[in-house]
Every structure is written in C-alpha cells, then in structure tokens.
C-alpha cells in the first residue's frame, strides 16, 4: 500500500517538473484532499493544461450528472443546450465519445422530461444520427424502437429502411450484425402492419382481393427477413412468435412446426426454455399426440423443473397409461415442491395426493416412493410438515391443510402428530380468537385445550 502511494507520488512529481509551479500546487492539494474511495476513473479529468473551453464542458457535464441524479429534467435540458457545443471541439481526440454522451443523456432527458413530445424525439434522433457515423445504425434502431413503442409502425419501418440502405466505409463485423438486426426488426414491423391489415380485412367481412394481396406481400417481405435472422444462433422469441402467427394464418402447419422444432432443438442456439414452451403450446393447440407432447415437456422439465407448465405435465403423465409414467409424475411433483413458490400450492399437493392414492393400489409402492425420495429423505418431511408450516397452512388455506394431512399420514406417523396435532390445536385457538368476546365459550375452549394437551402427552 505504502509502495503504491510513493509510486503514485513519484509519477505526480515527475509530471510536476515539466509544468509551472502553480499547476504543481494544485496537484499536491488534490493529493492531500482526495478521499480514498473506489470510484471509477473520471472520464474528463482536470488537467494542468486544460483550456477554458474544456473546463466549461467538463463542468457542464458534471452539472448535468448532478441534475440528472436529482431528477431535475428542466435544468438538465438547460445544461444540455450549452453542452452541445462540445460537438464543435476542434482539439477533440474523441468526437465519437462526445456524440455518444449527447445521444445517451439526451434520450434520458427526453424520456423523463414532462413536456417532451414525439416531434422532439424525432428531431433529436435525426440530429444525433448525423453527429457521428459510428452510431448511425444504433441510433436508427433506437429511433425505430421508440416509434414502435408509440405505435407508429409505418414511421418506424421508414427509419429502418433508411438504415438498411445506409452504407459507410468498409462493412465492419459489428456493422453487419447490426444490419441483420435491423432487417429482422423491419420484418417484425412488416408483421405488425400485416396484423393491422388482417384486422381491417376481418372487420369488413367482405373478401377484398386487393387487401388480401397486400397482406400477402407484407407476409412475404416479413418472412424473408425473419427466416434470415432465425438462421443465426440467438434468442429470437418475438420474431419466432410473429412468424408462427403468420404461418398459422396461412395454414402452413408443417412449416410452423418445423420452424419451432429447429428453434427448440438446434444445439448451436443458446438453451431457451421458451422455445420448448412455444413448441408445446403449438402442438397442444393443433392436437398432436400425447406422446409427442410428453417428449417436449420432458425436455422443458430438465431445463426448468419449476416451470409453470409442470403441473400440466404431471397431469398428462398421470393420464398416460404407460408403465412408469406414474413414477415420473411423482418425480415431477416432488421437484416442484422443492421450490418455495410451489410449496403451498394446493394444485401440486392435490397431484401428489392423487398419485399416492394411485400408487397405493400397487404392491411395491413404498419402494417406488423411496427411489423418488432419494436424497430428499432427510429433510423433506421436516420442511413440509413442521408446526410452523401447519400454523401457516391452517391460517391461509384449510383445504391445503387437509390434503397435506392426507399425504403425511401416508408417510410417517411421527410427522403426522407434529403436523396434524398442532394443526388441530391451532384450529382450536382460531376458534378461541373468534370467541374472545364471549367468556362462556372461552371457558369451554380452555377446557378443550387442556384435554388436547393431555392427549398429546399421552
């Protein structure tokens, strides 16, 4: 630590020798007063040879940051007006950086400013686009996002097509990626326009060949772009959904299933549970056989054991007549119950109860159970059937209490007494609270409690 300190000082002093004494002095003062905080290095530092213009812009940026942190958007806009002169910096070694700062902060101010209108956004984006070539595509994309969010599909589409036709210098790697994204989004926007057309066509009720033709052309444009982006590995959920929607409309079910299959099962893509969900939903909607559905859900189960489709998976497994599926269902339910969000879900416990009921009809059900319980053996009962849990369940959901009581009775008498005994007593106290106002009842309840206490001691 000390060494570092002295090294820093050395560097500072060497610098100081070249400068005038006044400057050296300011460095020294800084060193004394500087707090030892792990701050990120400032973007623009106060240097000894700083010109007045840079001092102004540095101060201005600092002021902007301050007012942004205090949510004073009006003042921020005021400072931004004078900050825009940085673009004209003649000694700039990083004009792109200035342009980016103005872009980012400017959009932030526009988003929060109470009086900002869509025209302000439009004019701002237009100007920022032309302040530096490096960000042109990104700004175009952001601009069209903004229009998209505001429902201006045609304008958003126009922005994207402008960006598509834009060329500057050699096509760099980042640039070509951005172009692909832009194309995908323009396909996405085509889909939105297609949706609009569809809605108008269905509302008129008459078959209009021209409208149909137009719709079809949008579909073709869109599908070309969307197909292109889906070839690349990535997460393309909205694009896939819109493409499927269109294919479905034109009754190309095989094509749709193929797209979904590719999206879900291509190994080069990042693992994406949604892909399987989409595939499952589509298959379910179009009445695919149970076996196929189970296959899809099985993968989803390995990816996300706590997925909201798992109860459905469970019931499907119970429905299937195949040997061993019941055991699988038991595994799925137990997996679900490991997650706190499902722990007090009545549905899941109901599933478990049903499975136990069905398993009990078989001979070696305890053995099957032991296999599935496996490593859970030590803690499973303790976590689900504690007195605390009993109190909570009785307060929140009596039905759940009953279902759980059934389950615990099937496993262990010891936990049954803990769970059900306490629960019973709790039920009594709940009655007591209700009857507090009536002393006669209260006396009765006290007697009841004494009795139950004796019972548990026995």
């Amino acid at each position: 630590m000390d060494d570092l300190e002295s090294e820093l000082r050395m560097a500072g002093e060497e610098q100081g020798e070249n400068e005038s004494s006044d400057d050296d002095e300011s460095i020294n003062r800084k060193r004394i007063k500087k707090p030892n905080l792990p701050l990120a290095p400032p973007l623009f530092k106060e240097t000894t040879r700083e010109i007045g213009f840079h001092k102004t812009t540095r101060n201005c940026l600092q002021h902007i940051r301050e007012v942004l942190l205090h949510h004073r958007w009006q003042d921020a806009a005021e400072y931004m007006a004078s900050y825009s002169q940085t673009l004209e910096d003649t000694a700039a070694n990083m004009p792109q950086l200035y342009a980016e700062i103005i872009w980012r902060i400017g959009t932030e101010i526009l988003h929060h400013h109470p009086d900002s209108k869509l025209e302000d956004y439009n004019s701002f984006y237009e100007r920022v686009k032309h302040s530096g070539v490096k960000h042109y595509l990104k700004v175009c994309l952001e601009h069209s996002f903004h229009l998209l969010v505001n429902g201006q599909f045609e304008d958003a589409k126009r922005q994207l097509s402008i960006a598509e036709s834009w060329r500057y210098g050699k096509l760099s790697a980042g640039q070509s990626q951005r172009i692909r994204l832009i194309q995908a989004y323009s396909g996405f926007l085509d889909y939105f326009i297609w949706c609009d057309k569809k809605a108008t066509a269905s509302s008129t009720d008459e078959y209009d060949a021209a409208v149909n033709q137009e719709m079809h052309s949008y579909f073709r444009q869109s599908s070309v772009n969307l197909k292109e982006i889906m070839k690349l590995p990535g997460v393309w959920d909205p694009f896939v959904l819109s493409y499927i929607d269109m294919l479905e409309f034109y009754n190309d079910h095989e094509g749709a299933v193929k797209v979904l299959y590719d999206y879900a099962y291509d190994n080069s893509f990042p693992p994406n549970p949604n892909a399987h969900v989409y595939l499952y939903r589509y298959m379910k909607k179009h009445n695919h056989p149970l076996k196929k559905l189970l296959k899809v859900l099985k993968i989803l189960h390995t990816l996300v054991p706590s997925h909201e489709l798992m109860p459905e998976y469970c019931s499907l497994l119970v429905q299937s007549e195949k040997e061993g599926d019941l055991q699988k269902a038991l595994g799925v339910v137990l997996d679900l119950l490991d997650y706190s969000s499902w722990r007090s879900n009545l549905d899941v416990w109901n599933h478990l109860m049903n499975i136990i009921k069905r398993l009990k009809m078989k001979k070696q059900w305890l053995k099957t159970f032991a296999v599935e319980m496996g490593y859970r053996k030590d803690w499973w009962l303790a976590i689900h059937f504690s007195t605390f849990q009993a109190r909570k369940d009785s307060a929140e959901n009596r039905e759940l209490l009953e279902v759980k009581s059934f389950v615990v009775r099937a496993f262990s008498p010891c936990y049954t007494s803990i769970y059900c005994g306490k629960a019973a007593r709790k039920g009594v106290t709940a009655k007591a609270q209700k009857a507090k106002r009536n002393p006669k009842q209260l006396r009765n309840i006290r007697r009841l409690r004494r009795e139950s206490g004796q019972q548990s001691q026995d």
């Binding site: 007006a81 825009s84 302000d120």
Partner: protein
C-alpha cells in the same frame, strides 16, 4: 415593364458603365445601351416547383458576386489585431475609462509595438519584399526618424491626430504586393510567418493574450482604476471583446485557414500568465518609467485597500491600520513600474492591496484559530452590555461572508458551465475541413435549439452590467443580489486598546510562517507544502481574496509574505520583532514562529 422584369437589378454594365437593363425573349439580361448580354437570367417563378426553381436561379445570379467576396481584401495579421484592440479600447471607453486612453495611450503603444517588431514605421520592415510601405501613410510614420513615434506620442499628447490613426495605421502596412498563392490557405497575407516555430519563439509577434497585456499596460499608464483582476473579470463576463473577437472584423477581411490558429480563442489567460506577458511586453517596447501612482489615483494601495475593504464588508476603521502598515512597509511612494530596470517588476497592485488587508487582520485578530474567536466573543459581550455598542464581531462577519462566498462560487461555477465559446461563424483550418466544421456547427446549433425549447429558457447566462464589485452589502433587503447587511460603520473597540497616546491592538502577538531556505530561481511557490500547517482561518482569508481576484491562493500567500518581509524588516530595530526571512532554518523545526509584535507609536 422591363423594370419589373429586371427586378430592380442595378449593377453597372461591365462594357459601357450604364445602368439600363432589359430582358431578352430567352429571359437573359442585356444592356440596352451596348447590347452586352450578361450571365444573369430572369428569375422564373415556376408555381409547380417553387422551391427548386428559386434556388436554381438565385445560385446563378449570385455566382459572380460571391466570387468577389470569397477573396475579400488582402490584409495583414497585425491589422486584425488592430481591429480587436480597437474594439477592446472602445469597450473600455464605454465603461468610463478616460477618453484619452484610446488615442493617446493604447494607440501609441500599438504604434511602438509595430515599430519595435519592425512591422511598420520602420525603414527595415520584417516582411521584406512581401510588401513595401506606402509613402503617404500617417505623417510621422516613415519620413521621421524611427524614434520619433515614441517621443511624439509620449510627450506631446495634443499633437496626435486622433481617431484617424486607427484607420491609417493599418493602411500603412496594407500596401503590399498581392501574393495570390498565400491566400489559398489563409485569409490574411502573413499568417504563415506567424506560425513558424522560429517566429513564435522570438516573442515579438502579437497574440490574443498580448492584446489584453497591451490593454493592461495602457490602463496602467493612463492610471485608470481597472486592475488586472478587473480586466480579466470583464473579459470573462464578455464585457470586453476577447473570445471570438474576430467576428467583428469587417466583411472584406475574410478569416480562414491558418488565421484561425492565430485568432481562435478557447481559453482566457490566467492572471499570472497575463502578468508575465505584460511584463515582457513592457520590456520589449522599452517603455520608460510609468507615471507615478499617487494618492489621487485609484490604483494606489491606500485607495485600493479601501475598495477591497468595502468589497469584503470589513469595517472602515480597519483602513487606518492598513495605512499604518503601508507606511511602515514603505509602500506609499515606490509604487510605480520601470520596465527597463530589472529590479523593478510590474507590481500586482490588486494582490498587494489584498495582502495589506490580510496583514492588518492578522495584526488585530492574530488569525490562529483561537484568538480571533475569543475576541469576537468579547465583542458580542460588549455589544450585549452596551446596546448602543457597535463593535465589529468577526464571527458574525465570517458567517455572512462565508454564505456570500459560497453563493458567489456556485454562481461562478454555473457561469463557467454555461459559457458559450463557439463562434456563430465557425473557423476552419483547411478547405477540407470546411464541410465537416460547418456540419458540426449546424448540428450543435440545432441540438441547442431543441434543448432550449425543452428547458424554456435562454442558454446564455443573464449578463450583468460590468461592476467592480462581486458582492452587494447594504441596508435594504429588497434587492435581488443582496449578500447581507453592511458592516462598514462598525468599530474595532473590542480588539483595540488605548496605550498612551496611540491605539494598540489588544492582541499582543503576531505570527509568521516557518522560515525556510529557498532558492528564488528554482522554487516558485511553497504554498502547497505549508497549506496544511497554516491556521484554517488564515487559509480561508487567502481563499476569499484569491476568489475575489481570480488568482491562485498561493499567489496571495506569496504576496503576503513579501509585504510582511518589508513590514517586519522595517521594524527590525524593535528587539522582539525578529522575523526576517533572511535567516534560514531547517524545514521541520518550529511549525510556526511566534514573534511578539508591538506596534510602535
């Protein structure tokens, strides 16, 4: 009929000199007296393509005229500086500087500069061969011997021919042989010579900071009440043209290319830089002894300290003590500047006055973080006992001053953050850059407008009228900028006691920072090292004056030491006051040397 068609086109015909235009059937203009057809067509207003049509026609009709303007008049860099100086002088005149300042002082200084740097009024001009002097220049320029400019201008003020010089001064150098090649990369003729390393090193050439240095010297010569700190403040506030001063150049003096490197301003010089610049300039001009600063001149320490006492809201009674210190230090008489004597540097009048006030405060209140607070407690006790008592309470003053200082500092920060530096007409260093620079200018301007619309207020900070004072102290509270009640009528009763026939400070001690060995050639300022060891109140006072004058605190500190040296040195005969810095002591020994100081008299 034809007049309607020609649209009032009234240029003279190139062939015959008549103004009698007609429009032919093809829509072309022809001269009716000599039938000369010119390159101008009738402006066809096509209702369908209104926009395109007019732009096409106007571009044709402007073609010839624009070309003429593009080249402009051939001009020299020093002419540009002359314009800037003229504007600066006019701004100063508008502020109330005496009218002789411009023609009799600054103009003469400028002529001397031109002569010394061999740009004009000389038989041996620096740009030999590039241009020759016109013989009918202003009277004394080349017919008289070279030394005449200085002697005439300095001695016989009434004889100079006033305003005309401003035009003819530039005229005398503009009779050059036009060099077509040089005008490609710069608007002026000799910009290239300003940018060669050799010339820049020679220090003789004009630069933007030097215009201010020249103004400062001229103000000093005219014994005007504007100190260097004031001058810089006015420049910062935009009251004196400096940033983008070239925008006021006449239309025909076109500025581009290399000129931009000379005239572009992106920084306002610091106090110390300008001071140094003024000193070297004075030596370069070989100026004689400056007029003495007497008691009737506002630059005299006596009056300047009074001004600063008012500014920082200290009681008037303190001025007596300041004057006593000034007397002791022998600073009443030797307050002028003789450039040609090496031991007479250009005095910092303003910083010196601040130092005198600080020493007076130190003498009365000691400023060691204890005594001054004890004294102010005494003062408040006195005021309580005696309801009519009007004793100066340092604590109250400190509180009021601190608040005012914080507000002013914040205001200054805000003004810095909003300062607009970039010109309306952008400069570009080469033709290649032109389009980029213009585009950036346009985008910045549009962004500025759109954010202005959002904020709903103008971007430029509301410019206040030029004022010598930063703070406003007064009785009435209604004013917008009001820093607190005025304390100038308060008395120093509680901190002074009667001893025999004279008043003595009730605080008997005076301290001096630790003495140390110092090589005046090599070390410049020790303030950074000693700052931590100084009493906080003293440091705060230094900071206050450094803020007021726009200088570094170290600069005030050094000046205080300098004045203390003279002040204490003069009272060396007193057995107890022995704090002469001639003794050298090891650095680490006593942190602060306490010396008893009794004020004689």
């Amino acid at each position: 009929m034809d007049e309607e068609q020609t649209g009032g086109y009234s240029d003279i015909c190139g062939q015959c000199g008549e103004v009698d235009w007609g429009v032919s059937d093809e829509g072309r203009f022809y001269c009716r007296s000599c039938h000369n057809v010119i390159e101008r067509t009738k402006e066809v207003v096509d209702t369908n393509t209104l926009m395109i049509g007019t732009s096409r026609v106007s571009s044709i009709s402007k073609g010839t005229r624009r070309k003429k303007l593009e080249q402009g008049r051939a001009w020299m860099v020093c002419e540009g500086f002359q314009f800037i100086l003229k504007h600066q002088a006019e701004a100063l005149l508008a502020m109330g500087v005496c009218p002789q300042f411009k023609d009799d002082v600054l103009c003469q200084f400028w002529r001397m500069y031109l002569q010394k740097s061999r740009q004009a009024y000389t038989k041996n001009p620096v740009h030999d061969g590039k241009f020759r002097l016109r013989s009918q220049g202003s009277g004394e320029s080349d017919s008289a011997p070279e030394s005449s400019v200085m002697s005439d201008s300095m001695m016989s003020v009434s004889e100079t021919d006033g305003d005309g010089d401003w035009a003819s001064g530039g005229g005398s150098v503009s009779g050059h042989t036009s060099d077509g090649g040089s005008s490609v990369c710069s608007g002026s003729i000799d910009a290239v010579s300003y940018l060669t390393p050799r010339q820049r090193r020679s220090q003789g050439l004009m630069s933007m900071p030097k215009t201010l240095a020249l103004c400062h010297l001229a103000l000093l010569w005219a014994r005007e009440a504007i100190t260097l700190a004031d001058l810089l403040r006015f420049v910062n506030g935009g009251h004196i043209p400096y940033v983008n001063a070239y925008e006021d150049f006449p239309e025909e003096m076109r500025l581009y290319g290399r000129d931009s490197l000379i005239f572009r301003v992106e920084s306002i010089p610091s106090y110390s830089h300008l001071h140094k610049e003024a000193q070297t300039l004075a030596v370069f001009l070989e100026l004689p002894l400056f007029p003495p600063i007497t008691l009737d001149c506002l630059l005299h320490p006596s009056l300047l300290t009074l001004r600063y006492l008012t500014e920082v809201n200290l009681p008037d009674e303190l001025h007596d003590w300041v004057c006593r210190i000034m007397e002791k230090a022998g600073m009443e008489s030797s307050v002028t500047f003789e450039p040609m004597r090496s031991r007479s540097p250009l005095p910092h009048y303003d910083v010196q006055a601040a130092a005198l006030i600080i020493i007076a405060m130190k003498l009365l209140f000691k400023l060691d973080d204890h005594t001054e607070w004890d004294l102010s407690s005494d003062a408040s006790d006195q005021n309580k006992e005696n309801p009519d008592g009007n004793s100066f309470n340092l604590r109250r003053w400190y509180k009021a001053m601190q608040t005012a200082l914080t507000t002013a500092a914040r205001r200054q920060q805000d003004n810095i953050a909003r300062k607009h530096w970039k010109p309306q007409k952008p400069l570009y260093t080469s033709k290649k850059d032109k389009s980029v620079v213009l585009k950036r200018r346009r985008i910045a301007e549009q962004l500025q407008l759109s954010f202005q619309k959002l904020s709903g207020s103008p971007v430029a900070p509301p410019s206040s009228p030029p004022s010598s004072f930063c703070f406003r102290w007064g009785e009435e509270e209604g004013e917008e900028v009001w820093d607190g009640p005025s304390l100038h009528h308060q008395t120093l009763d509680s901190s002074v006691r009667q001893s025999g026939a004279s008043l003595q400070p009730s605080n008997p001690e005076y301290w001096h920072p630790a003495l140390r060995a110092c090589k005046p050639r090599f070390c410049k300022s020790h303030y950074a090292e000693v700052e931590a060891t100084l009493p906080r109140m003293y440091v705060w006072l230094l900071d206050l004056f450094s803020f007021l004058l726009g200088v570094k605190p170290g600069c005030v500190y050094e000046e205080v030491l300098k004045v203390e040296r003279r002040f204490l040195g003069s009272s060396k005969s007193q057995p107890r006051a022995r704090a002469t810095p001639r003794e050298t002591q090891p650095k680490k020994l006593p942190k602060r040397k306490q010396t008893r100081k009794t004020c004689s008299r």
